[in-house]
Symmetry: C2
Subunit: 137 residues, 2 copies
């Protein structure tokens, strides 16, 4: 199975490329649930190899459900956690963190932003190449 | 690809068989997120061919993200909607509905129960064979 075959095996859509300074590398977002009646928003995010987001925090918390590929997640001051399909990451409100693909593999996850009435993600500084390298990603 | 291969391709776990009068046929549940800090609970549900749940409603609403197989979803008084991998179902608070597998194929979905502070699912009568047959499932 090639890398492109693996990407095609993910059941949720890739969506549109994100144009934002809060991401390094190519990242795509498909918005799955945006209706405020549920108090949460759901997107499917796909990172190209080596792509990641900046350090950030969610006032209402966020849950990641990994749908494919190989990635990593790191909270400030903690070792990075390697991620693969089926993994669940619970990001408590206010916790500073970043996530992204490993250098050689794409990575995709559902992102469920909870308690959205508490406000949008608060973006901080980019993850440096040194931090990314140390993550083992 | 055989049916069992397809089931193995779903990235989230099958979990344990549910023992409940609110389900007809074999149904499995893996609890993925149960921490109340997020205001929602997430499970991965797998139905054997022909299995379905009873009519019910969620005081806080629920979102289904279909991960594999072939299923159907019906709201009271509405035609059934056929479901396959990648489909999203937004179930508004209080809406009476049921979901389950088609007669000849397994079915799996993530179930995200929202606003869980509003209370647990309220279970009603079973879906009759006549209702199930009319659904086109």
């Amino acid at each position: 199975m090639t890398k492109s075959d693996e990407l095609a095996s993910v059941v949720f859509p890739r969506g549109s490329e994100i144009a934002s300074n809060n991401f390094a590398g190519k990242v795509w977002l498909a918005r799955l649930v945006t209706d405020g009646v549920f108090g949460c928003m759901i997107g499917h995010v796909t990172f190209a190899p080596g792509a990641r987001n900046s350090w950030h925090r969610h006032p209402g918390g966020q849950i990641l459900l990994v749908t494919g590929g190989s990635g990593c997640y790191q909270e400030r001051g903690q070792p990075a956690r390697m991620l693969q399909a089926g993994d669940v990451v619970e990001i408590s409100p206010g916790v500073e963190h970043w996530h992204g693909a490993t250098p050689d593999c794409w990575f995709s996850h559902l992102a469920i932003s909870t308690h959205i009435d508490r406000g949008e993600a608060q973006w901080l500084e980019p993850v440096t190449d040194q931090e990314y390298g140390r993550s083992g990603g």
